[in-house]
């Protein structure tokens, strides 16, 4: 447990969070290597099955990072994503995995600091929660 390094999967929207990650890099801001970024064309592309599969395959935490409200390149993809994340959180609570392992974040392409801060905070939160129970038992 002391050596526990969480595996975090971050579904990042191409138009905001993914570019924010790039911005963080350009600014030489460091964030935990635990965060594995998957670029998606819009956070609304992320379906519940993508989040569940990440957990099933061993991720300890998953987050979706989309545009700020009103800024979605496809109008409402971020709103859809946020509703799906809320639904999944409820389901994970029901099956004992814990909804707090999944989160939705919003940021713009220029928010490199916010990207790095979000990645660090979420990683620490999952580190405190411990390994995904489904992975720990396997």
């Amino acid at each position: 447990m002391e050596n526990f390094e969480p595996v975090i999967v971050a579904y990042c929207c191409h138009y905001c969070a993914y570019t924010a990650a790039d911005m963080a890099g350009s600014k030489r801001l460091s964030y935990p290597p635990n965060v594995k970024i998957i670029r998606v064309p819009c956070s609304g592309k992320v379906d519940m099955i993508h989040i569940l599969k990440a957990l099933e395959k061993g991720a300890d935490g998953v987050y979706v990072a989309g545009c700020l409200e009103g800024d979605c390149h496809f109008n409402t993809g971020n709103v859809r994503a946020s509703k799906r994340v809320a639904y999944i959180k409820k389901m994970l609570d029901e099956i004992g995995i814990g909804g707090e392992r999944v989160e939705m974040f919003s940021m713009s392409a220029g928010m490199g600091e916010r990207f790095a801060q979000t990645a660090s905070e979420f990683t620490e939160k999952i580190r405190k929660l411990g390994p995904n129970p489904a992975r720990a038992a396997a």
Partner: protein, 222 residues
């Protein structure tokens, strides 16, 4: 379409618990449209159940399949290839589908994964509402295309009742008064004289009052 809602996860987990290998069977018809038991929901439920049992330290095997229709024997037959490799079937179809699978595979326990609700229509994305109760003697032609049997809480055939307020039903302010809708529609059609005519008492034997129903088409039946 026939609408359904997934059962609570806790109930599903308990029904699957005694088994090691599960066939999770979706249906490509109504339950796909109402997002309760189509291919997508099969994937999500399979993943959630796997997570649950992995966390408990006793992983289960789940085979996913989505049939074109579960209420037709021709399609249910397709499960033959998988049925011997599983201990139980969890069906995400409506009650008709679950029963058809149970009838065909008599030695396999079959469980419903959804609660079948009603025959309804989509009001908007993600919202479905009851529209038909299958009374077997349709009156929509008399009521301007709004069903008093399915949409009036009291099923009255000559309404509205005293509980209609501002177009809403006394049962819930979310529910439109069916007879207000009927009035509005007949008015728009210029057929208010039709409203004045009393609809005689309904013979409910054509509905569930006559017991389980069956349609036999002599020209088609083999």
């Amino acid at each position: 379409m026939i609408t359904a809602e997934q059962k609570p996860m806790k109930e599903l987990v308990e029904c699957v618990r005694p088994f090691q290998r599960i066939l999770l069977a979706g249906c490509n018809e109504c339950v796909t449209v109402c997002a309760a038991g189509g291919r997508k929901e099969v994937g999500i439920l399979a993943s959630a159940l796997k997570l649950q049992f992995q966390a408990e330290g006793k992983p289960i095997e789940i085979t996913e399949i989505t049939l074109e229709r579960q209420c037709d024997p021709e399609y249910v037959e397709e499960l033959v290839a998988q049925i011997d490799k599983v201990d139980a079937v969890l069906s995400m179809a409506c009650g008709c589908g679950v029963q058809e699978v149970a009838r065909r595979y008599t030695d396999k326990p079959v469980f419903p994964a959804v609660n079948t609700k009603f025959m309804g229509a989509s009001e908007r994305q993600g919202v479905w509402a009851e529209r038909c109760q299958g009374c077997g003697d349709c009156v929509l032609g008399l009521t301007g295309g709004v069903c008093p049997v399915a949409r009036c809480s009291k099923q009255i055939l000559n309404g509205p009742c005293g509980g209609s307020t501002n177009g809403k039903c006394e049962v819930s302010s979310d529910t439109d008064c069916a007879w207000q809708l009927i009035w509005d529609r007949l008015k728009a059609l210029g057929k208010l004289d039709q409203y004045e005519e009393n609809i005689p008492a309904k013979d409910w034997r054509s509905g569930r009052g006559g017991g389980p129903r069956k349609i036999v088409r002599e020209d088609l039946a083999s």
